[in-house]
Amino acid sequence: MSDIIDIAIIGAGPGGIGAATNAAKKGMSHLLFEKREVGNTIYDYQLRKLVMAEPRKLPLRANVVFEEGSREKVLEDFNAAIRDNNVQVSKASVDKIEAGNGFFLLTAGKESFKAKNVVLAIGNMGTPRKLGAPGEDLPHIAYTLADPDAFSGMNIVIIGAGDSAIENALALKDNNTVSIVNRRGEFPRAKDANRRKILEAIKKGEINCFYDSEVKECSSTEIVLKTSEGDLTVPCEHIIVRAGNIPPRAFIESCGVVFPNKDANSYPRVNEKYESNVPGLYIIGSLIGYPLIKQAINQGHEVVEHILGNPIEPADLPLIEEVLSPLKLPVKEAFKIMRDKLELFSDLSTPQFRELLIDSTIKVLGKNDLIFEKDDYGDSFWNVVSGKVGVISPHDPEKLYVLKPGYFFGEMGLISGRKRAATVYALEEGTTVIETKRNQILKLMGSSESVKKAIDTTFFLRILSTSVFPSADPHELTRIINNSEQIQFNKGDVLFNEGEPGDALYILLKGSVKISKKNEHGVDIAQTYLPAGNYVGEMALVSGHVRSATASAAVRCHTLKIPKELFDDLLKSNPETADEVRSLARKRMIENLTASRKESSGEVLNFILQQGVSDANNVLLIDSDLCVGCDNCEKACAATHGGYSRLDRKKGKSFASVQVPISCRHCENPLCMLDCPPDALMRLPSGEVIIKDTCIGCGNCVSNCPYDVIQLVYDDTESSGWSLADIPLIGSFFESSKTKKPKGPARAAKCDMCEGLDGGPACVRSCPTGAAIRTSPSEMMSLLLEKKGEL
């Protein structure tokens, strides 16, 4: 094709369809490229999954019908929009985009296309990694499994060793002969629960596993594997490749687009017209941080208007108006004020700033109005727009820090996920603050280097200036922070060992650190643990002695490592600060000596740390000395939560006859919240982590939770027949032979501490012997010590 088309749209997802339908309607010459299916991400959902239309308030402006409904209905609407608007679709796979003289040259295999404008709407799921062996394009090779029930009596080979490969294998094993091809000798990437299940299934012979094996070639009936013992031919009628995805970043960078930083979560920068740094190359949808379908469709629609040069107000205008309404000013003026006052966000592009506003609330306060109190739970982030805000020092209630417009606060709770570190209130009448949701800020920190740096630096600065160097010059401290390195530690990694010379001080951003010492037999005994917001390792620096204890990561930790040289420099140049630091360090040393623990309490602490309870806000325990196994706790939970128990009494480790059953601990730093597209996971002010009704059932939280406490549940289940287990009383002697088949949309479910139910959690209230208790980690510690006869 030698003609130059007006607009090439890559990716027929919601964004691409929004753009293509508008381009077609406006009579532009266009081509929509999609190498797989229309709405591919939704296409890959499991059958009949409910697709949500969030945010509800956002109007849809496009030639596409999109409303909440099943996967099938949404896909049909998408295809209808393409059909009805006469959108030109190409199945070619574009693998290169080059900017030329007034047009872009798109290469797709041997074909090439020319376009004046390119809209990238390929999403951030990436492309599934292919088989990488002859036969990889055969039609019986799939990359997903939408409906396990569609297969029976087949020989199925699954390639990969991650969670999705394992889950597919387990879902198919009952009705098929399933083999799994693993490049390694074990399943290191899988979640513990999945690893256990797959190893058990392999052991029982329900699934064949080819370890240390790769695919050599495949045909429609067989697959040849390269194993450590030579080539092996396995019959197979269906292949599922689950070898992970290739992230789209490399492709986008090859088009000349610049990312703000190396962070894997960062998004390419675009202007308010969605245009990237490459003129004529536009990027929309989840690639620039807008994961919701409706947003992407709107952006697709708008981008075409921008290309045509038509002025168009963004679709989110009514939402912005609502957010700015407390300022009681015309929206344009109010928007400008916000843009000027919020210095932290001055580097953001206009779409990013609008997105930030939509996820924020503006509050106009009276004098002495409380914003939040120390030890409240909260992870939102605050900026001062006008007036003055007072922060009461957490160490000295007499001391007050004053924050002026442009300053921000709440970063401690945001970063560490812990309780609020200080009480904050308005100092003046009419003080205006803006509160932004956690996910929005985290997203911005991922996409804007300046926001991330400002927030991180302030976080460290506030810890250093309140706890370690109370009277040091903030500029001096900032210099130290800027010259120090941020280091991550995985669970169990050692920060420093007992007996080593002290080389650095660590500030904990996230996670918690275990401090342990060796006893006379050389066994490591846990002494204590320090949560995020604390610092470790200053004693050896101050005293010049070797490390008196070992510090290791109790859970995954983020730290700032301040090298000894910088620390010493600061002390040398500020003799006053030096004295203060020494006396603080000495105080901590004395505290440590007097709190020196017995070995058995070390064991108890070890158990608590191993179970990850140190990071918990509230944990369910079963006292095995009291539990009669009546299961009333599970029954109560199921009865009060739509038929599904959110706790599993029979599972979970125990120590000193106290069991930690599978149930949500409402972590201080909830990993489940990390990656929730509709932002449905939230923490209540009282500390509980709950899942809101906006959950779309994507399962991200289920796989992110390290404690297996989240499950997918279904509103409807289809149960078949009647069984002996249905008889009251006698029934409990029989296993239910009923098969519950999930029907309808899935939702994530976990313990919500019976939020909204007076009297506390139903499981605890329904325990006839008082064996079930919900308690804090420190009370758990005293209970365990009591059981061990230490208290």
Binding site: E200, K203, S624, D625, L626, C627, V628, G629, C630, N632, K635, A636, A639, T640, K650, K651, G652, K653, S654, F655, A656, S657, Q659, L729, S732, L757, D758, G759, A762, V764, R765, S766, C767, P768, T769, G770, A771, I773, T775, E779, S782, L783, E786
Partner: protein, 276 residues
């Protein structure tokens, strides 16, 4: 943290409550000197009868309360506490109602049924207070599924010893495995009537190792250790199942008895009014 049991809850509140009620009943009973002697037909007799009936209805309500998962009214633990102590007090209050007159009739039959129900309840209380501790102490901190997984893995280790070695095992080795490896049987009969599995003492071990060729001695010792572990794990599992069964089984006595009691009580009340 309150570590009260359901018996000692709030400094034995329900024990004291029941004791006081019983005592008051005794005092009233002995103060009252009705014409024709003390019996169920006097004012005090009737009153005590009504009180006892209310008591029994309260005890029966436990079954409903246990399943009222939305109930905000205290905890099930404190309801159980009152259930136990009020139940026990009825042993004394009901004879007061009858003026200690017993005979071969439906009235005494109702009382006997009540005693049986309470006796089964007492058995339940004893089980609730002793068996969980028994369970948790014997399985050393592992739950039942963990015990089963453990047996599975021990089983496959034993299998590896007997089959996967490059040279075939001697007959004596296989015989040793055969004589010690117990088939896993968790049938109802086995669980209820199992005997203690003997520990392997030095003498038995020496006897077993005697016939095994020298090149297999090391393997045999390791195998013996695993066999021993499996036997103990299996025994623990059987005990666990038995304890769990008994913990549930008593209810199959207690609940039917209490319903029969209600039936008998209804007949008792009807017949009393019928012959009035």
């Amino acid at each position: 943290m309150s570590r009260d049991t359901f018996l000692s809850l709030r400094n034995y509140f329900w024990l004291w409550f029941s004791l006081v009620i019983t005592l008051v009943c005794f005092v009233i009973y002995f103060i009252d000197r009705p014409i024709g002697g003390r019996n169920g037909g006097t004012v005090v007799g009737y009153s005590l009868g009504v009180l006892s009936t209310l008591g029994i209805l309260y005890l029966m309500w436990y079954g409903i309360r246990k399943r009222s998962y939305y109930s905000k009214m205290t905890t099930l633990k404190s309801v159980l506490s009152s259930h136990v102590w009020i139940g026990l007090s009825l042993v004394l209050i009901v004879p007061l109602h009858a003026g200690f007159s017993f005979g071969w009739n439906v009235h005494t039959f109702t009382y006997v049924l009540m005693l049986l129900t309470i006796a089964s309840g007492v058995w339940g209380v004893v089980l609730f207070r002793t068996y969980p501790f028994l369970l948790s102490s014997q399985r050393g901190g592992s739950t039942k599924p963990q015990l089963i997984t453990n047996i599975y893995s021990l089983n496959s280790e034993i299998k590896d010893f007997s089959s996967s070695s490059k040279s075939p095992r001697s007959d004596a080795f296989l015989k040793m495995i055969h004589s010690l490896d117990l088939p896993i049987d968790t049938s109802f009969k086995k669980v209820l009537f199992h005997k203690e599995i003997s520990k392997l003492d030095d003498q038995i071990i020496a006897g077993l190792l005697e016939d095994i060729p020298p090149n297999e001695q090391d393997d045999a010792l390791s195998c013996l250790k695993i066999l021993h572990k499996k036997r103990m794990a299996y025994f623990n599992l059987l005990r666990e199942c038995k304890v769990k069964f008994i913990l549930k089984a008593w209810l199959y006595l207690h609940v039917p008895l209490s319903f029969s009691l209600c039936g008998a009580l209804a007949i008792h009340i009807c017949s009393v009014f019928y012959y009035w």
